[in-house]
């Protein structure tokens, strides 16, 4: 027993030493000219091996590289900087690891910007580092509205989606379309609780009511009883706030519950196309959800998705596309600022109107740094309607940019 303790203690100590060593090393890189180290470094910080790997993960690095290539092709000799690098790190969805990695990326690897960072708690940790180091951070993968609300700062921008947008899309539209009586099933941790709050607000604003909520452990693989419980209240629609493997478990068991035959709809709070791909359309058929972007929406998005597919062999999720777009907008801002000085780049970005393959009617809002754009209410097609692999969504409604996101006046952000 003693021996066991010693071994365990020693390994903990070793791990501790390694982590602390990482924190202290390196210092802020002081710039002499217009560009620190004569180069621009874009850093991808996300989940390279865990549950969100397929949602964004290593493929986002390829997307960012595509942006760099496009920028260099576009400006050629006129580019204000010749050397642009992309680096990446795995935060394992842990806020403390994200915190350490962000410091390393900014200080030691000379990153001018950090991109992505799924998992809300990790994202907030990185936002704090961006603020302290006065370096840019564009979030794509995380959902928390705090990034552009209570915890907003000058150097942090929020791309793609957030919980307010998901709730406002799915919650409001489904309610207005006639499903007034809701039951919500949610994983009992920060993201799930946040989503319930946002959804309840949106549903009530749409004239519906949340008759009950069912909390489940996270993660969890057995949802049968929870579903029976939610179904017993005879709702018109059950809203699930689960993601990834939990969502797949829940959908499989919802399909088994017989509620579908009784006319109970399933609305999903957060879903990525990779989830549909992994479970197959048959299981998700008819499910309604809000999508920040869809690869087969029009020629412009499809053209980009084709290029992405050549590089990776898969179709992109909106996180991949968002990483490309964010990297591109950053490089464009660097081009017009003529420097990688964060304050000057922020000036270029604020208030900028954008229309690219990702952002439609986009605007990088100056007040809270929320990047607003059109989003879509989507319905999962039936197996017979799928004409090609990955073409799983029918866009039933476009939600205009200014309606899709929380108004700046309500964000509570002061920079």
């Amino acid at each position: 027993m003693n021996k066991r303790r010693t071994v365990a203690g020693a390994s903990m100590l070793m791990a501790g030493v390694l982590v602390t060593a990482g924190c202290g090393a390196g210092g802020p890189s002081a710039g002499g000219g217009d560009f620190t180290d004569d180069k621009v470094v874009l850093a991808l910080l996300n989940d390279a091996s865990g549950v969100y790997k397929d949602v964004s993960g290593p493929n986002s690095k390829i997307a960012i590289q595509m942006a760099i290539d496009d920028y260099q092709k576009k400006y050629g000799d006129d580019a204000v900087v010749d050397k642009i690098e992309v680096t990446s790190a795995d935060h394992q969805n842990e806020p403390d690891i994200a915190n350490t990695k962000a410091q390393e990326l900014y200080d030691r690897e000379g990153a001018d910007i950090i991109l992505d960072v799924p998992t809300s708690s990790a994202a907030l940790a990185v936002a704090t580092q961006a603020k302290n180091k006065k370096k840019l951070y564009m979030n794509i993968g995380a959902g928390t509205t705090d990034l552009t609300g209570a915890q907003c700062n000058k150097y942090t921008f929020h791309y793609a989606y957030d919980t307010w947008m998901l709730a406002n899309g799915t919650g409001t539209v489904v309610t207005e379309d006639g499903d007034k009586n809701w039951q919500l099933i949610y994983p009992d941790y920060a993201f799930g609780q946040d989503m319930v709050k946002s959804f309840t607000g949106a549903i009530e604003a749409g004239g519906g009511k949340v008759a009950g909520t069912v909390a489940t452990p996270f993660p969890n693989d057995n949802f049968a009883t929870y579903i029976t419980k939610a179904g017993a209240a005879k709702p018109q629609v059950i809203g699930t706030m689960h993601a990834g493997g939990d969502l797949i478990n829940l959908v499989k068991q919802f399909n088994d519950s017989g509620l579908k035959d009784k006319g109970v709809d399933l609305a999903v709070g957060l879903m990525f196309i990779s989830d549909i791909h992994s479970l197959g359309v048959a299981a998700f058929e008819g499910t309604i959800f809000t999508d920040a972007w869809y690869w087969n929406f029009d020629d412009k998005s499809r053209a980009w998705a084709d290029r992405y597919m050549e590089e990776t062999g898969d179709r992109p999720t909106y996180a991949h596309a968002g990483n490309y777009s964010a990297a591109m907008q950053y490089l464009e801002a660097v081009q017009s600022a003529g420097t990688d000085d964060a304050d000057k780049v922020v000036e270029e970005l604020e208030g900028k109107k954008v229309d690219d393959m990702f952002l439609r009617n986009g605007e990088i809002r100056a007040e809270d740094h929320r990047v607003i754009h059109d989003v879509y209410l989507a319905k999962v097609k039936g197996p017979d309607d799928v004409k090609e692999d990955w073409d799983y969504e029918e866009i039933i409604k476009t939600i205009p940019a200014e309606e899709a996101f929380r108004p700046a006046s309500e964000s509570g952000c002061s920079m």
Binding site: D188, P219, T228, I248, S257, L279
Partner: protein, 290 residues
């Protein structure tokens, strides 16, 4: 009443996975004295194998229920021969560490090959839908899972109690020294028994494929509950593993229904109560743990 019956079926269905896998865990512990931490990973491999076979060669669930356990049996025997065997004479801690490492390796390999978002699985139409029992619609698939689990558990029990092989294994499980003293060569049964235990975990995985998310991580929480099951039932006890499995399934279902916040905790409360009252578990032998 309506809801109670539904929860019971859901609890027994969840319990079926636990019972089958715990049975394998108990057999392995009984004969080899190995606390097989990789059992959750073997359960995951069963589900992944079923999904891959469906996708590549179109193998139906019916066939997979036979083929995958056989593959897992062979796989388990190879693992025993190549790895587990060498550590048997040492402190059991070494095999615990080995199987823990094996879990990390298997999970990572599956992740690398098949990604993290899971594999699709479509079950045969015959097992879709619900049947009416006493005016309540019960999912056919859950009843099927319970049926298969009961059948297999009964089969294993018969094998153990009515055949010579079973008696040797039982003797080795319950009184290893005595069995050895009586000239029973326990050693030659070690490899097939390990394979058999792995096959049972694989079978539970195949049954889970149409019903649960098939991901590399699906065995991680499963193994923790599984240890609770075998502790409740009694380490190494075959009847205990099965009873414990169904019991834990029911506690989980009713906990989720009536005290959702405590559902997970209830299992471990049950474990604590059982261990306090009967340190060797419900069906364990007091001497075995002394």
């Amino acid at each position: 009443m309506n809801a109670v019956l539904q929860y019971t079926v859901q609890g027994l269905a969840a319990g079926s996975f636990y019972a089958l896998a715990a049975l394998g865990l108990a057999v392995i512990f009984g004969v080899l004295g190995v606390v097989n931490f990789a059992h959750g990973a073997f359960y995951m491999l069963g589900a992944v194998a079923a999904a891959v076979l469906l996708d590549t060669v179109g193998m139906s669930l019916w066939l997979a229920l036979l083929v995958v356990p056989v593959l897992m049996l062979v796989f388990g025997m190879v693992i025993e021969r190549l790895l587990v065997r060498w550590l048997l004479p040492l402190d059991p801690l070494y095999n615990l560490l080995l199987t823990f490492g094996l879990t990390l390796l298997l999970v990572d390999l599956v992740k690398r090959r098949y990604g993290v978002s899971g594999l699709p699985y479509e079950r045969p139409a015959a097992l879709d839908g619900r049947i009416q029992v006493a005016g309540i619609g019960l999912p056919v698939y859950q009843l099927f899972v319970i049926g298969v689990a009961l059948l297999v558990c009964l089969g294993v029990w018969l094998l153990m109690s009515r055949t010579r092989v079973g008696m040797i294994v039982r003797a080795a499980t319950e009184r290893p020294e005595l069995a050895g003293a009586l000239g029973i060569n326990v050693g030659r049964w070690v490899t097939p028994v390990f394979g058999f235990g792995v096959a049972l975990a694989g079978l539970a995985g195949v049954l889970a494929a149409p019903f649960r998310a098939i991901t590399a991580e699906m065995g991680s929480d499963f193994i923790i509950i599984l240890f609770a099951v075998v502790v409740i039932g009694g380490l190494g006890s075959i009847v205990g593993a099965v009873t414990g499995g169904f019991l834990v399934g029911l506690v989980e279902a009713f906990g989720q229904a009536y005290a959702p916040t405590f559902a997970q905790v209830l299992i471990f409360v049950l474990m604590a109560v059982v261990v306090l009252a009967r340190p060797a578990g419900l069906f364990g032998r007091e001497e075995a743990t002394a």
